[in-house]
């Protein structure tokens, strides 16, 4: 099978501080990957490299065979770890904005999700709560028919009931050939939807395995394994 994302020997340093060291990743189409690691392990930096917001110090990244550039950006739907929308815009404005920007944007999908989460698209962003803004942002990202979804902490500020809805939405909406890379701390919530997990620690990959293999070999959940591997003394 051809690879959807290849990260080859990537190192990223900010001045003298090495944030990622010799990272290799090979993501296949049609799978959901969890990018897990404690604070400061390099998750967001790796995601920014994949999305072309930062350039690697050494090493290469390919998306569906192309280097990072306009083509890779058209294939990836990216949810950053920050809210970046203008507060004066309404959700309706944003939907128009997104469909102007991205050919693969599916308006109907977006309106469906907004309805199911009881979000009024006529309201301006400044009157929405933090959690609701996060939902809007995630809905926009998941409404693209992208090849790769890269979600940086997608459900952090969202209540548990909506979290379930969002996870189910992710499961039922992504194309069979698309893949998802999710970074999160909320492992228990998300474990059931992951195929594989990648553990990052101090900028290095310490583990990369299928969730069911971890459960079979270790007799514990990924969440328990995470707590063990990254125990703080």
């Amino acid at each position: 099978m051809s690879e959807l994302l290849t990260v080859n020997a990537v190192t990223k340093a900010f001045g003298r501080k090495v944030v990622l060291e010799n990272i290799h990743l090979h993501l296949e189409p049609g799978r959901i990957y969890g990018l897990l690691g404690p604070n400061g392990s390099g998750k967001t930096t790796l995601i920014k490299l994949i999305n072309g917001l930062l350039a690697p110090t050494t090493g290469e990244i390919y998306v569906d065979g192309s280097g990072i550039g306009p083509r890779s950006k058209s294939l990836i739907s990216y949810l950053p770890d920050k809210l970046y929308f203008a507060e004066w815009m309404t959700t309706n404005n944003l939907i128009d904005y997104y469909s102007d920007f991205y050919e693969d944007f599916d308006k109907e999908r977006a309106y469906n999700m907004l309805m199911n989460l009881n979000i009024n698209p006529d309201e301006k962003l400044k009157v929405l709560s933090k959690g609701t803004k996060e939902k809007v942002q995630l809905i926009l990202v998941m409404s693209r028919r992208a090849k790769l979804y890269v979600l940086d902490e997608p459900i952090g500020g969202v209540d548990p009931a909506s979290r379930d809805y969002i996870l189910d939405t992710i499961l039922s909406n992504y194309d069979e050939n698309a893949s998802i890379l999710i970074s999160t701390h909320l492992i228990t919530d998300i474990e059931r939807i992951l195929d594989e997990v990648i553990f990052l620690q101090n900028g290095r990959t310490v583990l990369s395995a299928a969730v069911d293999d971890i459960r079979a070999n270790e007799g514990k959940s990924v969440d328990e394994l995470f707590r063990e591997v990254f125990r703080c003394y």
Partner: protein, 122 residues
Amino acid sequence: MAWKIDNDRPVYLQLMEHIKMQIATGELSAGDRVPPVRVLAAEAGVNPNTMQKALQGLEREGLMYSNRTEGRFISAETNVNQVSTSYARELTVDYYGNMKGLGLNDQEIVKTLEDYIEESGG
């Protein structure tokens, strides 16, 4: 029957058990079409690849077969009794192992079970 996924065992094995239970209880019977992978996965709240793996496992065990164009079906030879017998055996193995783990001997285990059956009016 709601899908329940424990934390300590592979998800696909638990999905297989759940579907076996549905066959054992007659919720799914011989000749029934199995819902599409994506539908089942959404219902169980799991990754479609994991559900796919579970269904393939059930096919290997002969409980289902797939037809290239029409989808997956519960095998005609699938004998409900056979499935429930083998499922009952699995549960018994677990139960026996757990009781042994508590340090009970065989007679005590049988006695406990008999007492319980009596109590529960069975």
